[in-house]
Symmetry: C2
Subunit: 136 residues, 2 copies
Amino acid sequence: MDLTERPDLPFDVFSKACPSRGTLEHVTGRWGGLTLGALYEGSLRFNELRRRVDGVSEKMLSQTLHALERDGLVHREAQPTNPPRVDYELTALGRGVAERLLPLVHFVEGNMAEILAARERYDAMRASGGARGALG
Amino acid sequence: MDLTERPDLPFDVFSKACPSRGTLEHVTGRWGGLTLGALYEGSLRFNELRRRVDGVSEKMLSQTLHALERDGLVHREAQPTNPPRVDYELTALGRGVAERLLPLVHFVEGNMAEILAARERYDAMRASGGARGALG
DNA sequence: CGGTATCCCGGCCGATACTG
DNA sequence: CAGTATCGGCCGGGATACCG
């Protein structure tokens, strides 16, 4: 397959004004991707999600969920019980996004050792003073 | 395939301290993804890249390229000519990332109309005052 | 051409307190 | 439990100027 072949769509992410850039940032931002990933495993309540996405604050989780719900990727199901119970789950669109996002995440996780090695090489090269090759 | 099945790796992105989160942000951040996408189409020079990635500033492109180079995703080839010529291209690892990133980007682009419609519905619902259904 | 250095603002984000 | 309100720090990122 040729991934450079771009279908003739009305939206082009390379264009400055393309609204897809905004959604892409919701989806791939610091918390958006982790939230979608967690929900891909199944419906979760607010605090379950908060525990699953290690490090997220109440505020950011709430904000992230609102953005994803607005984009039609997450469905919010509130039950008017006491205490209140709210479940979050992916929509069909959200599953589509998650199915394409997770392979990327897993690929990076799986190659993290190589990435860390590349970083060490890069940093060592800079520290030792330049762009010369192995021979110095 | 079951994307929830996570191989037993030393790195887990859901964990607060996982370094993959950093690389993921380089890759999916505001400019990282567009830069990888542009380079997936072929090797490019600095200003070619700058024109292709509409809206990026010199500073952010430089910063983005450094981060991607450090992570071993992009290779920088400088020729000591005058005027200077520098080419950027994806490494094998970078192509692996791009191949998983592009389907996500294309999916969002392709479903942008639906996403925008979801936003309008969401905003209209909020403006009209509540979580009631179609019957008001 | 291919960058780096500096200034500065907006908003991301965490911490804390409060509400239904 | 499931959030909202408010404050403040930090830094992403744009504008501009400058360098080899």
